[in-house]
């Protein structure tokens, strides 16, 4: 499946979250288990397969800031809760369907993303993620492509680098795995000129230090602009 070419052909400005995760998964980026369903009944069935508790999200090309739109329902523990939330989410404008996701536990949240600078071309960001990403504003950039050694240096360069160490009884972050994500995002930036931006935010750190992306945004540009001098 060629997510990007199809999206360009369809005139889309972004992949929806489900598509974005499938695309990123293709590059070895770990993503949470999830199912894309059209309605509440299918959501209930999906929750049985995934195991409770679950997260329910309204998903669509134009639903990019889901928290602000109230398009996320966390920690749902029963069929009743799922049906009720599904009704509410499906009523949100631009909702294309529901995403039923496993609830991932872990206190630490990281972000990795791609942007295109008019002069510097594709650049990869790594930093502290979560809902306070822009507020805390702790991130570093590199020009793509990025080597593994460079990705490891990025981890040292953020102000809160200590969060990657063992933290409140939780294991240190798997730096090799994190480096693979950062390197992969750079690769995408170099290979897919129609990918305009990527946000993988948050990348959750599980208690054992392993990583999983629980939300992702991939925006699309029809015209490739990433030409580098």
């Amino acid at each position: 499946m060629n997510w990007i070419a199809d999206a360009v052909k369809a005139g889309k400005t972004a992949l929806n979250e489900y598509e974005a995760k499938r695309f990123l998964e293709g590059f070895g980026i770990p993503v949470n288990r999830e199912m894309f369903v059209p309605d509440g009944e299918k959501a209930v069935k999906a929750a049985c397969d995934l195991g409770y508790p679950v997260v329910l999200k309204a998903t669509g090309e134009h639903l990019q800031h889901k928290t602000e739109l109230g398009a996320v329902a966390l920690n749902l523990k029963s069929e009743g809760e799922i049906r009720e939330e599904a009704r509410r989410l499906l009523a949100i404008a631009d909702c294309e369907g529901l995403l039923v996701q496993e609830m991932v536990k872990g206190d630490r949240e990281l972000v990795c993303g791609l942007t295109r600078d008019a002069q510097f071309g594709p650049c990869v960001m790594f930093g502290l993620g979560g809902i306070f990403t822009e507020l805390i504003d702790d991130a570093v950039f590199r020009m793509a492509p990025i080597t593994t050694a460079e990705a490891l240096r990025m981890m040292e360069d953020i102000r809160t680098a200590k969060i990657l160490q063992a933290f409140r009884g939780q294991a240190p972050v798997d730096r090799e795995a994190l480096a693979r994500i950062i390197v992969a995002v750079g690769e995408i930036g170099c290979q897919y000129e129609n990918v305009r931006e990527i946000d993988i935010n948050p990348i959750k750190v599980r208690r054992d230090g392993s990583l999983v992306a629980v939300d992702a945004l991939v925006t699309i540009q029809a015209k490739a602009s990433g030409v580098r001098p």
Partner: protein, 464 residues
């Protein structure tokens, strides 16, 4: 690329288009500079009036130039530059310095002339520095294309690339008159229609005359190529860069957090980290770091010891080191004991070293000399900063002992700073710097410079 820039830096023959017999005019001063610097290649001033300028025969036209001219310096009004460039190219000249201003940096008309220059450069495959450049200097060849009255430019082993006319003129003037170190090459980039920072960096990276490179830049013309070149050069030589003007231009309206957080300055910062280039934030550090690179080895680690005559300095400078990423390490028991041996017992000796009670007890020279040597021997110490307290009343020791220590411990940089009488500081500077020991007027400066050197050392030794 190195080969193509050799004629710029090692020209065997030079033409000055727009030579002038009138003292003070750029077309005159450039010839005076070239003669003052002892250039031994052939020099061909060109002016329709002919005659002699400063004793050099003047050719009356570009067409009468011989075919073997390596570089032409064109010092004509912007409007006449394109025509002269064409004529020179027809004479087989391929390397140019376009000194005049009045191009894209000024107005629309200037921008149109610059576009024409770009067309000629492409069409005839020319190598061009400028326009709007203060020229370039190459001391091993005794050559300069600058028209700013410089006199003899001291030879040294650091090189500068500057996208500002100020550096090759007034800053260089200051270095030549206020400092003791010299330069290998200086390149004023100007409007960068041809030669850019990456070309210059590539040349200097391979230049045996250049042991450290300092750059002032406003914008990167080819960021990716710069990254590729710098990545290699920074494994061999220190490369220090000051970038001005973090503008918001070219920024896209962003849907994603990543784009919203991608300030141009942050992207530059990231690229420089990737490249192993050490970014500095102060113009003055271009000079001070240049001085240090000229005289000192790079420290092998960030451990610093300093000797100060005051408690206030000991504490504030310790805090300062901390902010700069320098480590003031505890010293070995043996080192501490030896320090204690030269000091009155009421002082608890450690790093940093409270030296003045020892100076009162044993004499200023003895205390500083012994104290410095003791800390230089400690394995945790990679560099030493003596804060010399100098007044006539307390006695001014012969600074030769510092030179001796620098020679005896050649792998550990010694950077000298002062407290006390200005005239004594100046005496020390005049005595120490020609012998390769740098001095710094303000007590924070040696630490700032040291932190730049430590970062360079880390960049050179960084993992692949």
């Amino acid at each position: 690329m190195k080969e193509t820039l050799v004629p710029f830096f090692e020209p065997r023959s030079v033409a000055i288009i727009g030579a002038s017999a009138v003292s003070g005019k750029p077309g005159h001063e450039v010839i005076k500079n070239i003669l003052d610097n002892g250039y031994t290649g052939k020099l061909y001033p060109v002016n329709p009036k002919g005659g002699k300028i400063l004793g050099v025969d003047v050719l009356s036209s570009i067409a009468s130039l011989p075919r073997d001219v390596d570089v032409a310096v064109i010092i004509l009004p912007a409007g006449a530059t394109a025509q002269a460039l064409r004529e020179c190219a027809d004479q087989g000249i391929r390397h140019f310095v376009l000194s005049s201003g009045g191009f894209a940096e000024v107005d629309e008309a200037g921008a149109r002339i610059q576009e024409e220059i770009v067309r000629i450069v492409r069409e005839k495959d020319l190598k061009v520095l400028g326009p709007n450049t203060s020229g370039h200097t190459s001391t091993p060849q005794g050559f300069t294309s600058t028209f700013f009255p410089q006199g003899k430019i001291r030879r040294g082993r650091v090189s500068y690339i500057a996208q500002t006319g100020n550096f090759g003129t007034h800053t260089l003037k200051y270095i030549m008159t206020g400092e003791c170190f010299g330069v290998a090459r200086v390149v004023g980039l100007g409007n960068k229609v041809g030669l850019d920072e990456t070309d210059a960096l590539e040349y200097l990276g391979n230049d045996p005359e250049t042991s450290a490179i300092l750059i002032y830049i406003e914008s990167f013309k080819r960021p990716l190529r710069f990254l590729e070149v710098a990545r290699e050069v920074t494994r061999r030589k220190p490369v220090v860069l000051l970038k001005s003007g973090a503008t918001e231009a070219g920024r896209q309206a962003a849907m994603a957090h990543t784009a919203a957080m991608a300030s141009p300055d942050r992207i530059v910062e990231g690229m420089l980290r990737q490249a192993g280039v050490v970014r500095i934030l102060d113009y003055t550090h271009l000079i001070l770091a240049g001085k240090a690179f000229s005289m000192l080895p790079l420290p092998t680690g960030n451990g610093v010891s300093f000797l100060a005559p005051s408690g206030a300095m000991l504490t504030t400078l310790s805090d300062f080191c901390d902010r700069l990423g320098l480590h003031v390490p505890p010293m070995e028991p043996d080192t501490v004991q030896r320090l204690q041996d030269i000091s009155p017992s009421y002082i608890r000796m450690r790093n940093p070293v409270d030296i003045w009670p020892a100076a009162i007890a044993t004499g200023v020279e003895f205390a500083y000399r012994e104290g410095m040597e003791i800390v230089l021997k400690d394995p945790a110490v990679n560099a030493v900063v003596p804060v010399m307290m100098l007044t006539r009343e307390s006695g001014v020791p012969d600074p030769a002992f510092i030179v001796d220590l620098a020679k005896k411990y050649p792998t550990k940089p010694i950077l000298v700073t002062f407290s006390g009488a200005k005239e004594c500081m100046d005496e020390y500077k005049a005595a120490l710097e020609p012998k390769g020991v740098p001095t710094f007027q303000e007590i924070e400066q040696p630490f700032e410079v040291l932190s730049i050197m430590v970062r360079c050392s880390q960049a050179i030794n960084r993992p692949l």
